[in-house]
C-alpha cells in the first residue's frame, strides 16, 4: 500500500461517541437529505406531469381513431362520471376522446388482469355509438418474449380489436367476449388467439370481459356528461 494513502486516511475507529453525537448526526443527515429530495421533487414535478400526460394522450390517440383532444372523467361514488380538470391519484378514471371538430369519438378505458407470467395492463377504446371496442393497446406486460408478448405487437391479433362487438343487453354484454382458436373467428365478439400464446390471448379476453362488464353500463348511462364536453 502506498504511504501516500495512509497520510490522507482518517482513523476509522475512534473512541465510542456519545448518544447525542450519534443522534445529532442522523438527524442532520436526514434533514439535509429530506430537504434535497423535496427540492428535486418540486423542481421535476412539472416535467414529470407533462411526460405522463403526453404518454397518456399518445395511448388514447392509439385506441380511439381520429381523436385530437382528451378529457379525463372520474367515477364518482354514485356511479356517475364527472369531468376531472386536475389530478386525483386515487380516483378511477376513463378518458374521453374528441375529434378536431369537437365530436365525441369514444372513451379509453384502462384495464388490467393476470396474464401468463404476470399482470397485463392495457387500455382500450370504446365507441358507445357503435357499441364496440375500436382499439386496444398493451401498456405493460411481462409475458414471454417472442410468444406471449405478441399480444402487444402482432398486427393480426391487434386487428381483432378494430371492431370488437361489446353490445350491451340489460346490465351485461349481449354476447360475452370469446377467445377462439386462431382462424376460427366468425362472430364480431370473438378474438382470434395467437398460436402458441393461447394463455396470454385468453388473458386479454378475460380482462376485457371483466372491464367491459364493469364499465360499459356506466359509460352508456353517462353519455350526456361525456357529450357535454363536445364543442360545436
Amino acid at each position: 500500500m502506498s504511504d501516500h494513502m495512509h497520510m490522507h486516511a482518517s482513523p476509522s475507529a475512534g473512541p465510542p461517541s456519545s448518544s447525542v453525537a450519534m443522534i445529532r448526526t442522523l438527524v442532520v443527515v436526514s434533514a439535509v437529505s429530506g430537504l434535497l429530495i423535496v427540492l428535486v421533487f418540486q423542481w421535476t414535478l412539472p416535467a414529470i406531469k407533462a411526460n405522463h400526460a403526453r404518454a397518456l394522450q399518445a395511448a388514447v390517440f392509439e385506441v380511439l381513431p381520429g381523436v385530437s383532444r382528451v378529457e379525463t372523467f372520474r367515477l364518482q361514488d354514485d356511479g356517475t362520471l364527472a369531468h376531472l380538470a386536475g389530478e386525483d391519484e386515487r380516483a378511477l378514471k376513463v378518458y374521453a376522446g374528441y375529434t378536431d371538430a369537437g365530436k365525441l369519438v369514444g372513451v379509453a378505458i384502462p384495464a388490467q388482469g393476470q396474464g401468463y407470467q404476470d399482470v397485463i395492463k392495457v387500455i382500450y377504446g370504446y365507441d358507445p355509438a357503435k357499441q364496440a371496442i375500436v382499439g386496444m393497446k398493451v401498456l405493460e406486460s411481462k409475458e414471454t418474449p417472442g410468444l406471449g408478448d405478441k399480444i402487444g405487437k402482432d398486427p393480426e391479433f391487434l386487428g381483432n380489436f378494430d371492431t370488437l362487438d361489446v353490445a350491451l343487453a340489460g346490465d351485461g354484454l349481449r354476447n360475452a367476449i370469446q377467445v377462439v382458436k386462431h382462424g376460427a373467428k366468425q362472430q364480431p365478439w370473438q378474438i382470434d388467439a395467437i398460436t402458441g400464446a393461447t394463455i396470454s390471448s385468453k388473458a386479454i379476453g378475460r380482462l376485457l370481459g371483466e372491464s367491459t362488464r364493469a364499465w360499459l353500463p356506466i359509460v352508456q348511462r353517462n353519455r350526456t356528461a361525456l357529450e357535454a364536453k363536445e364543442t360545436r
Partner: protein, 193 residues
C-alpha cells in the same frame, strides 16, 4: 387493491415469479452461501422474518406518507426500517443461538442490502396490495427465497464431491446452475391461471 386471491399471491411470489430465479433479487447471499443446506434454510428463515416485519412496516409507512403527501420519502423510510429490523434480528439471533450467528457470519448484516427485502416493500407498493395481501406476499417471497437458496446449497454440496474443472468452480458454476434452475422454474408459469 388488486383482486388477486391470497393463495395466488403466495404462489406467485414463491414459485411463479420466484424472487431469486425470476426477479433477480437476493443474488448476493444466493451466490455466496456455501454448500450447506442447514445454513441455507436458517438464512432463508432469517430473511423471511425480516421480510414479514419490513412488509408490515412498509404498508404502514406507505399509507402514512400518502396521507401526508410526502411519498418521495418512501425509499428512505423503507430502507431505515429494514436496517433497524436487521439490527434487531441480529441481536435476537446472537442471544438465542450464537452458533447460528457465527455460521451466518457476514451475511447477517448484509441482509440489509439484500435486494429481496427492499424488493418486497417496493413490489407490494407498486401492486397496491392490501395489508393481508402484503403479508402473504412477504411470506411467499421468503419461502421462495428459501427454496431457491436450499436447492442451490444442495446442488453445490453435491458438486463439491464431483469432478469439476477448477476453472469453472465457484461463481461461474453457481451462475450456470442458477440459469438452469431459472429456466426450469419458468415451467411454473401459468400456474393458477
Amino acid at each position: 387493491m388488486t383482486s388477486e386471491s391470497l393463495g395466488f399471491v403466495f404462489l406467485n411470489a414463491a414459485i411463479i415469479n420466484n424472487f431469486v430465479l425470476s426477479l433477480f433479487l437476493g443474488i448476493c447471499p444466493f451466490l455466496g452461501i456455501s454448500g450447506k443446506r442447514d445454513t441455507a434454510i436458517r438464512m432463508g428463515i432469517a430473511v423471511m422474518f425480516v421480510m414479514l416485519v419490513s412488509s408490515a412496516a412498509a404498508y404502514g409507512i406507505h399509507h402514512l406518507l400518502l396521507a401526508l403527501g410526502a411519498v418521495y420519502l418512501e425509499l428512505i423510510a423503507y430502507i431505515a426500517v429494514i436496517a433497524a429490523t436487521v439490527q434487531l434480528v441480529e441481536m435476537v439471533i446472537k442471544k438465542f443461538s450464537p452458533a447460528l450467528f457465527r455460521a451466518l457470519g457476514i451475511f447477517l448484516p448484509l441482509i440489509t442490502t439484500n435486494c429481496a427485502i427492499l424488493g418486497v416493500a417496493l413490489f407490494q407498493t407498486l401492486r397496491d396490495y392490501s395489508f393481508v395481501q402484503s403479508i402473504t406476499f412477504a411470506f411467499g417471497s421468503g419461502v421462495g427465497f428459501t427454496i431457491a437458496l436450499t436447492i442451490m446449497a444442495g446442488l453445490r454440496e453435491e458438486l463439491n464431491l464431483a469432478d469439476v474443472p477448477s476453472l469453472v468452480k465457484g461463481t461461474a458454476l453457481t451462475l450456470m446452475l442458477a440459469g438452469i434452475l431459472s429456466l426450469s422454474f419458468m415451467g411454473f408459469g401459468g400456474l393458477g391461471g
